[in-house]
């Protein structure tokens, strides 16, 4: 976390797609009420691990919350690599919605 990544990377690397599965990526997880939690994970790490870690951090059951990347529901086997996520991308966390009538 203390790495100065921008200082460490030669500027010509910018814009080049980072394909190394062992490279890490910073991901911001934002709840529907705006709270932010930051994660740093490998591009090859399954996002289900991040989901589990987030759920226990905020004290929620994983089945009661939905993780979305650019509107797409994140699947069990998805990784930052499979979703073509970029550094500092955001994951939205939404809670179950219900409805039957206007109260």
């Amino acid at each position: 976390m203390s790495d100065n990544e921008h200082g460490g990377n030669p500027s010509q690397d910018e814009g080049v797609k980072q394909e190394d599965p062992n490279a890490t990526i910073n991901i911001k997880v934002v709840s529907s009420t705006g709270e932010e939690v930051f994660f740093k994970i490998k591009r090859s790490t399954k996002l289900s691990k991040l989901q589990g870690a987030y759920a226990s951090k905020v004290g929620k059951d994983v089945s009661s919350i939905r993780f979305l990347y650019d509107g797409d529901r994140i699947q069990e086997d998805d990784t930052p690599l499979s979703l073509e996520m970029e550094d500092n991308d955001t994951i939205d966390v939404m809670v179950e919605q219900v409805g039957g009538r206007r109260l």
Binding site: Q97, V98, G100, R102
Partner: protein, 278 residues
């Protein structure tokens, strides 16, 4: 009786009685009315017997019931299709994914009524992001990074109101209408305004120029089927969206079809495809 030399009386003109006249006009008007508004096909009250059994079996299954695209429905969700239960986002978005899958197959004559449109479905969380965060902060431009909504016939959007009510909204590019269908007949103006704001922002972002709203109007017909209870709005919403994806906005279902439609939806979800038999 005739006097000699006088001519016969002129024939009595035919003057129909008022009753007959009125009856004639009523019959004629009814015929015109029927041609303008053909009688709605009635939905059945139950599925074929084997399919009813399959529905009961689905209700008893534990765990994940079905998956399609990026959506899934589990046993805890499917039981919400039992009578009187409120629907959740999992059911609504699974239904939306089935509508999208059918739209993408683009088969000719796939349905008995209407025609499969090039529809695009935005999940139930889209409206929440749009309402609470807005287009920029909600990063909604990225929700359509793989699609040009302006090339579609219709964009379908389920709307959740205060975690208590579901309605359907649509951006109808064919008919140039911002549409809202509410089985409680309430949500309209706020929905229209937000649809307009979204189209304005999305067009500026993707096309780099203002959207031309010429000829566009707001639409929420009085004929929208209404619920008479406190639990069926999610079923109405799914059926509004499904009909709209076939270009049909003269909905054939009513409140009394809801018990049947709930069971049909269970069958459709378990088989990951919409029934085209009605």
């Amino acid at each position: 009786m005739l006097k000699r030399g006088s001519s016969p009386p002129p024939p009595k003109p035919y003057i129909p009685e008022l009753d007959k006249l009125l009856s004639y006009f009523r019959t004629r008007d009814a015929a015109i009315d029927e041609r303008l508004h053909p009688p709605r096909p009635r939905l059945p009250t139950s599925l074929p017997e084997d399919d009813e059994k399959s529905v009961e079996a689905t209700f008893r299954r534990p765990g994940v019931i079905a998956k399609i695209a990026r959506e899934q429905v589990a046993s805890a969700d499917i039981v919400r299709l039992r009578p009187r239960q409120w629907l959740n986002d999992e059911i609504i978005n699974f239904y939306g994914a089935m509508i999208m899958a059918r739209a993408e197959e683009q088969k000719e004559n796939a349905v008995p009524r209407g025609k499969i449109l090039k529809a695009f479905y935005l999940s139930s969380f889209f409206w929440q992001k749009l309402s609470t965060d807005g287009y920029e902060k909600g990063r909604l431009a990225k929700w359509t990074k793989k699609v040009d909504i302006f090339s579609r016939d219709v964009v379908l959007i389920p709307v959740n109101h205060g975690n208590a009510h579901w309605t359907a909204a649509a951006i109808n590019f064919q008919k140039k209408r911002f549409e809202s269908y509410d089985s409680m007949g309430m949500a309209t103006e706020a929905v229209w305004k937000r649809l307009r704001d979204y189209v304005r922002a999305e067009h500026l972002n993707k096309k780099k120029k203002p959207f031309d709203f010429t000829g566009w109007k707001d639409w929420a017909p009085d004929s929208t089927p209404q619920q008479d209870n406190g639990y069926d709005c999610g079923v109405f919403t799914c059926q509004f969206l499904e009909s709209l994806s076939r270009g049909e906005d003269d909905f054939v279902f009513t409140q009394e079809d809801m018990p049947y439609l709930r069971r049909r939806m269970v069958w459709e979800i378990a088989h990951t495809r919409l029934r085209n038999d009605v």
